[in-house]
């Protein structure tokens, strides 16, 4: 390895990280600690007077942050669980059975990876089912939308698991549901981590579908609240509140990623690229 590359590569990485990731994050951090007057024209200067505490407190009270947080949890957690459980069951069948019908059902179920959800007619359908503006409606829409992702990743993963493991248990007389729960699900751990973070990532930050299905009001999720806080700056900039909100909204995802990091990487390795 040439010496230029040996020292040049880490230097380049540091420079890129500083410019591309450091600067935007720095802007978020300092602006969220500034009083409104200083934050009106956002810049990279340190705050002249620090007031992170009151900004975050304002974001919580004016931005309805606690309600938004709870609302987000109430739709994201059930959606993720359903996507994982239903997806794993389907992936097991799709990976193990071989027939034209199975291939067709698999192709149909992963078509959601490519096709865009028909968001306008979803609203119509939910209205007819009495699920418009409700959490179950939102959960159903997220589950339908992200099932493809989990089925795709999990089917690829299960195909790589040797059949012998299942057969051994079958000879001991275990019925399918026990084989599924005791053998298949535990082996799926890495890919479950991947699917969890992907679906959580999408659902936690989604505003587009939440806007159509939930609208504003009592059931608004965190991103919808953030949108409201930021749209209110038509007359007066409130970047300090927006960025306090951005920090609080992002931290849970960062935490989830840090906890599951290693499994996520191995799940992507085995699911998407073989």
């Amino acid at each position: 390895m040439s010496p230029i590359w040996r020292y040049g590569r880490p230097a380049l990485v540091l420079l890129l990280a500083g410019l591309a990731v450091g600067v935007p994050l720095w802007l978020v951090a300092v602006t969220s600690a500034k009083p409104q007057a200083e934050a009106i024209e956002p810049n990279l200067d340190l705050p002249r007077s620090w007031q992170p505490g009151s900004n975050y407190a304002d974001a919580v009270s004016e931005g309805e942050m606690l309600r938004g947080f709870l609302n987000s949890l109430l739709v994201v957690v059930p959606s993720v669980l359903l996507v994982l459980i239903l997806g794993a069951g389907a992936a097991w069948v799709f990976a193990r059975r071989k027939s034209k019908l199975v291939s067709a059902a698999y192709a149909l179920c992963i078509s959601g990876l490519l096709l865009p959800p028909a968001v306008i007619t979803i609203v119509m359908e939910l209205r007819q089912l009495g699920l418009a503006n409700t959490r179950p409606g939102m959960i159903a829409v997220y589950t339908g939308m992200y099932l493809s992702t989990s089925i795709f990743f999990m089917t690829g993963f299960i195909r790589a698991i040797p059949m012998e493991l299942e057969e051994a248990a079958r000879i001991d007389g275990a019925p399918p549901w026990r084989i599924f729960a005791r053998i298949v699900l535990p082996l799926l751990r890495p890919v479950i981590a991947t699917a969890t973070i992907m679906v959580m990532l999408y659902a936690w930050s989604d505003i587009f579908y939440a806007f159509f299905v939930l609208g504003g009001g009592d059931r608004a999720t965190l991103p919808l609240n953030l949108y409201q806080v930021a749209s209110a700056q038509l007359y007066l900039n409130n970047w300090h509140l927006v960025f306090a909100y951005v920090v609080v909204m992002s931290l849970p995802m960062v935490a989830v990623f840090l906890v599951g990091q290693r499994k996520i990487v191995s799940g992507i390795t085995s699911g998407a690229v073989k």
Binding site: L114, P223, S250
Partner: protein, 306 residues
Amino acid sequence: MAHTVVRSEPTPVTGAPKKVGRLPRAAVHHPWWFALPAIVVFAGFFLLPNLLNFYYPFTNWSSYHSDIAFTGLDNFKTIADDGSLLRAIRTTLLYALLAALFQNGFGLVLALLLEDDTRFNRFFRAVFFLPVLISALATGYVFQALLDQDGAVNSVLGTDIPWLGSTTWTLIVVTLIHGWKWMGLSMLIYLAGLKGIPGDMLEAARMDGAGPWRTFWSVRWPMLAPAVTFNVTTALIGSMNTFDIVQATTGGGPAASTEVFNIYMFRIFGQGLYAQASAMSLVLFLVVVTVAIPLVIGLRRREQLL
């Protein structure tokens, strides 16, 4: 005699349903009802709306009518006549192309820079993955604050450039932001692809006297084909469905120059013109299908050739 047909069930459970024996083995071991709930939810809340989307665009469904009547091609005529149809197609395709290019370019460069499994590299992989974890809406606001005419970038550079106010260049700026947000995911997938290349293959190339460039183009790039397929497809299709970043940075402006399909739907739905928004949604569906199918087939074929 029923249970004797199933060879892999040597210990017949008493009271087991007799019918089981006549079913093929797969049906016993991996029964359909494990897949059924997923199929039902997917069909009900994904496929059915997409099917309905072939009907509602031809009606007068809106917040101004209490009942829905068939009106034929009126909605398509409206969006074609006011220019929004062609503009949305053009903008969305251009957006998807550039966003996929930037996302993959950045991701591949990062993967190559951070390829070795050192502690330093692992830390910076996580750093470059951070933007993926920040919501697209929040990303949009961060870059709005950076790129506003009174924003941070202009104040650092001492310039007065309207980064988000040009009818020609702003679309490119927004796609760069899109690439920035998702480069971490592309990076991970390229890293996975690089890791999958057998070490002795690289060793052989080195023995044959291939330099780093030669190794890259002749060995590593062809071996990355599956990662490229996955990354390019998801990036291209995913960015056709873009909304948050555009909404937060430009809201579709200036002069509708960044109005992609979803921004249009959001705006028109907000005005209560549901059928018209639905017409746009159908066009998006058709555009995605026409792009996706040849793309997937083409990339797959390329994988086999390389």
